[in-house]
């Protein structure tokens, strides 16, 4: 130590007095470390989710218009809410949404459970069939919307030719996307085609979670296959089916991309689901305050449904 120069001694003492960063981090409590790790996430959540939500709630009580940002905003109270909740046009949009949600969920659940039941029976090549069935789910909604628009073309579309083959009608005699009666069903068909595999996956997880010994006990009791299905398979897979129903219900309630690409809400307003109405009010009419109130109404509905979803999820987890 005596051989060290004065400056070296000072540096040495400084190093000895100030612990290294690693040493200091090692000295932090678990609680402080936990806060260090989650703080960036909390800041991001506040900036991206919570602040816009609070700002939207504030805007929903004002006459703010995003294309006239310099105009002074006036506090309107609950006027927009009252206006939306007494507007027959918005009510009609909600009914279009209901038609879309109910039919897609029913079709996807029935087909998804049926497919899961078949796939659950081990047969030759069931792995490859599972992969093929899952393919539509892996595609982007933008891609699906575009190619189904081609499939629905009355002159060159494959869908019309398939229907014509089975019904004997001329392929160009009907338009799936241009007809007031058929267009709501056109979007139901596309959504069912795309998302039935997802429901199938959830139902398959439910079916695979049923222990074999229950079926073996039922066989010993000479229960028929029909009885086994109604007394074992369906009740034990029901929480998973409920989970799929809730998830698809929430997703389809806020469906926008596919409907916008396929019909854009038309013809007229026959496929104008709530999210399309919201987009038109926000970015075509530029009624920002009004559309904020509408968005909050939709948000509360989705949030309420999400609560039920989480409760169902916990029930499934506890099994």
């Amino acid at each position: 130590m005596n051989e060290l120069s004065a400056s070296s001694r000072i540096t040495y003492r400084a190093v000895m007095v100030r612990p290294s960063v690693a040493h200091r981090i090692r000295g932090l409590s678990d609680r402080t470390l936990a806060w260090l790790f989650i703080t960036p996430t909390i800041v991001l959540l506040l900036a991206i989710n919570i602040f816009p939500l609070l700002w939207t709630i504030y805007l929903s009580f004002t006459n703010y218009r995003a294309n006239r940002a310099n105009v002074p905003t006036i506090w309107l109270g609950a006027d927009w809410y009252q206006s939306i909740l007494t507007d027959p046009d918005i009510w009609a949009a909600m009914q279009v949404t209901a038609h879309f949600v109910i039919w897609t969920v029913v079709i996807e659940t029935v087909l998804g459970f049926g497919l899961a039941y078949l796939i659950d029976k081990k047969f030759r090549g069931h792995g490859i069939w599972t992969t093929i069935i899952l393919l539509p789910m892996m595609l982007s909604p933008a891609v699906v919307g575009n190619f189904w628009t081609f499939l629905y073309q009355p002159q060159i579309g494959l869908f019309n030719y398939v229907v014509a083959f089975f019904t004997g009608r001329a392929a160009s005699s009907f338009q799936m996307l241009g007809d007031v009666t058929l267009s709501p069903w056109a979007i139901v068909i596309v959504d069912a085609w795309m998302w039935t595999p997802y429901v199938m996956l959830i139902c398959l997880a439910g079916l695979r979670s049923i222990p074999d010994y229950i079926y073996e006990a039922a066989e010993v009791d000479r229960a028929s296959k029909w009885r086994q299905f109604w007394s074992i398979t369906l009740p034990m897979a029901l929480p998973f089916i409920m989970l799929a129903v809730l998830f698809r219900g929430i997703e389809n309630f806020k469906m926008f991309d596919m409907v916008n690409l396929l019909t854009g809400g038309g013809p007229g307003s026959t496929t104008e689901v709530a999210s399309i109405t919201l987009k038109r009010a926000a970015f075509e009419s530029w009624r920002t305050g009004y559309s904020s109130a509408f968005a909050i109404i939709l948000f509360v509905t989705v949030f309420g449904l999400a609560n039920i979803y989480v409760k169902a999820l916990n029930k499934v987890k506890s099994r």
């Binding site: 809410y81 909600m94 209901a98 509360v300 509905t301 309420g304 609560n307 409760k311």
Partner: protein, 70 residues
């Protein structure tokens, strides 16, 4: 020799039995579901007008009762 027949656990009152998370969550869930049905039903504009208030009440209730003891 006497036999003590007093139950070791005191009987719970009606409030204790009702004010538990399970039943309250079920009520809140039913209110939310009713609000959603009211929002999308095609029969009455009055029901539609009250749907948001119903869903909001159910959601707030669910958030509060999920903190109640089991």
């Amino acid at each position: 020799m006497s036999l003590d027949v007093t139950p070791s656990i005191a009987p719970r009152g009606l409030a204790d039995r009702i004010l538990r998370r399970g039943p309250l969550e079920a009520v809140a869930t039913a209110i939310i579901a009713a609000g959603v049905v009211m929002l999308m039903q095609p029969f009455s504009l009055t029901l539609y007008s009250w749907s948001f208030a119903t869903t909001l009440f159910g959601t707030v209730m669910f958030t509060i009762v999920s903190k109640v003891r089991e």
